[in-house]
């Protein structure tokens, strides 16, 4: 068992981390907003942690707080992501559908190019030697795991709350939601901020985990990867990004023995899933459950 974790621990942590990033897309989607901005906030959070962890100016903080500097990094990353999300979200969320997706991709590019050219972010080289929270990579499960648990509980409560219902009402019919007294702009921005804060915190946790941070961390490719997690997992419940993120981030590693042809299989999975699983894996499993329930009942029984 120990050996298993030594060999696969890194992959498991990456799966949890990618799942969390997939979930960060889910919150705006709950309010019907297709935002691909997560990699931008992920990059921002990572730079916050990397800069606080390495820059001389912050060394008194590090000395004074010890390991306590890490939670502080998460907090600062979360707050900065929230502020930036409000500033970006208010104008961007006036756009709908694919136009919003494009605007958020542009945001990710702006963050990337800015970080590539600033001195404080280390330019093209990035930031090396970010202090580690744990000695082994596998141990990072002790921060990503609890975050996942917290986010699952958060989502569970959100779905059943006044705010969550406002999100879903906007997703179903924005105009009717407005006429039913819901401040649609405010709730769209709120959903965007929730996703951004999550992505920012995951970024801040990932910089120590990866030991280094640079402009390749939040890119257009990542936007598409997270979108694929949600598309394949399903966007109608939190189980979608959970399944999609875990399975798809593991797939390239599991298929590694196949060498280069693994990318072909990876691509095929994407194509077939989007054709045959329009509601994603979570949607397909939900329907399967419904079929079994119906089957065990006398015919004609309604829900």
């Amino acid at each position: 068992m120990d050996e298993f974790f030594q060999n696969n621990g890194f992959l498991i942590v990456v799966m949890v981390q990618q799942t969390l990033l997939a979930m960060s897309l889910y919150y705006p989607l709950m309010a019907g907003q297709l935002s691909l901005a997560s990699p931008g906030f992920y990059a921002l959070g990572g730079y916050v942690a990397a800069i606080i962890g390495t820059v001389e100016y912050f060394s008194p903080w590090r000395d004074a707080l010890g390991w306590g500097v890490f939670p502080l990094e998460w907090l600062i990353a979360g707050v900065m992501s929230a502020l930036l999300a409000v500033i970006v979200g208010i104008p961007a969320l006036r756009l709908k559908g694919i136009y919003l997706a494009l605007a958020t991709i542009a945001f990710v590019e702006i963050v990337r190019v800015t970080c590539l050219n600033l001195d404080i972010t280390g330019g093209a080289i990035g930031i090396f030697g970010v202090p580690q929270l744990f000695e082994s990579r596998w141990a990072y499960i002790w921060i990503f795991g609890p975050l996942l648990a917290v986010m699952l509980y958060f989502s569970y409560r959100l779905e059943r709350s006044r705010v969550g219902r406002a999100f879903k009402a906007i997703r179903e019919d924005e105009l009717a939601a407005d006429a039913m007294g819901i401040n649609t702009t405010r709730y769209k921005v709120l959903s965007f901020v929730i996703g951004a804060v999550l992505a920012g915190i995951v970024g801040a946790m990932s910089a120590p985990f990866l030991n280094t941070w640079n402009a390749r961390q939040g890119t257009f490719d990542a936007s598409i990867a997270y979108l694929a997690y949600v598309l394949i997992g399903g966007g109608r419940s939190i189980w979608g990004p959970l399944l999609g993120g875990a399975l798809l981030s593991a797939l390239p590693e599991v298929l590694r023995p196949l060498k280069d042809s693994r990318l072909i299989i990876n691509g095929l999975v994407l194509v077939f899933a989007s054709i045959y699983l329009p509601q994603g894996l979570a949607g397909a499993l939900g329907r399967l459950k419904l079929v079994f329930r119906r089957g065990s009942r006398p015919s004609g029984g309604g829900a």
Partner: protein
């Protein structure tokens, strides 16, 4: 009689088309006020102006003496004006119960944090919302099907659910856009009684757009007739029926 709604010279142009032109009327508290007119007369546009979904091009609208024009739709809903839509705009992917619960939004206050932390106040509020929602479902006769998706409901049921959703706002004024469209004659008949019943029970003022003439004549205290965006007649049903301008609008001149 207290005036609850007052429209003054309301106008709305779409390009060169005057969809609503200089329309003025008062609605008294507790009244059932009918809005009729041929297709394209501007009835639904007038409703959209009153609920803020379409901005006015000119004129003012006030509710209990306070001006509504220029407010976003959600503010108008907060003030106490609920509506249904001609082409039914339920939250189709949500259950009937959730459709009603969404409309309790403005009468509740739980924020993100208190909901997630499951505070006592938020739990109490949530319980009240649920009780109120079941009560309304019972009122519109859909209590047995509360957990079904709104999309699975028949046309008539969807219309009733939509009225229920509007009632969940605790409105003072209810705007019904063709509530009887797509209903059979038995359903239309019970709808008349139902509208009167909710008016009395919740002390509502009702404005309704309707094409089904017997229903309008039977139900409304007063009727306004629109044609090509202009108000051509207003008064008690019997008067309006005899008005030559109305007959001309519907049947053409001799």
């Amino acid at each position: 009689m207290n005036i609850i709604l007052e429209a003054r010279q309301l106008c709305r142009n779409f390009g060169g088309l005057k969809a609503v032109h200089n329309v003025s009327f008062n609605v008294a508290e507790g009244e059932i006020f009918g809005l009729i007119g041929p297709n394209g007369a501007g009835k639904t546009t007038l409703f959209n102006l009153m609920t803020g979904l379409t901005p006015v091009s000119g004129g003012t609208l006030s509710f209990r003496g306070k001006t509504l024009t220029g407010l976003p739709p959600f503010r108008i809903a907060e003030k106490g004006i609920g509506r249904t839509f001609q082409n039914i705009r339920l939250f189709k992917g949500l259950t009937a119960l959730d459709n009603i619960r969404v409309a309790r939004h403005i009468r509740t206050s739980a924020g993100l944090l208190s909901s997630v932390l499951c505070t006592r106040a938020s739990r109490n509020e949530e319980q009240q919302v649920e009780e109120k929602a079941w009560e309304i479902l019972k009122l519109v006769g859909l209590a047995e099907r509360g957990m079904e998706l709104a999309a699975n409901f028949s046309y008539g049921e969807q219309r009733r659910l939509e009225i229920g959703r509007a009632l969940a706002l605790d409105p003072e004024v209810l705007l019904l856009d063709e509530p009887a469209a797509g209903m059979n004659s038995a359903e239309k008949h019970s709808l008349t009684d139902f509208i009167r019943e909710v008016r009395d029970r919740f002390n509502l003022t009702v404005l309704l757009i309707e094409h089904h003439v017997p229903l309008v004549m039977n139900l409304c205290d007063r009727i306004a007739v629109l044609n090509f965006g202009e108000l051509i007649a207003m008064g008690a049903p019997a008067e309006v029926q005899k008005n030559p301008a109305v007959i001309e609008a519907y049947l053409g001149a001799e």
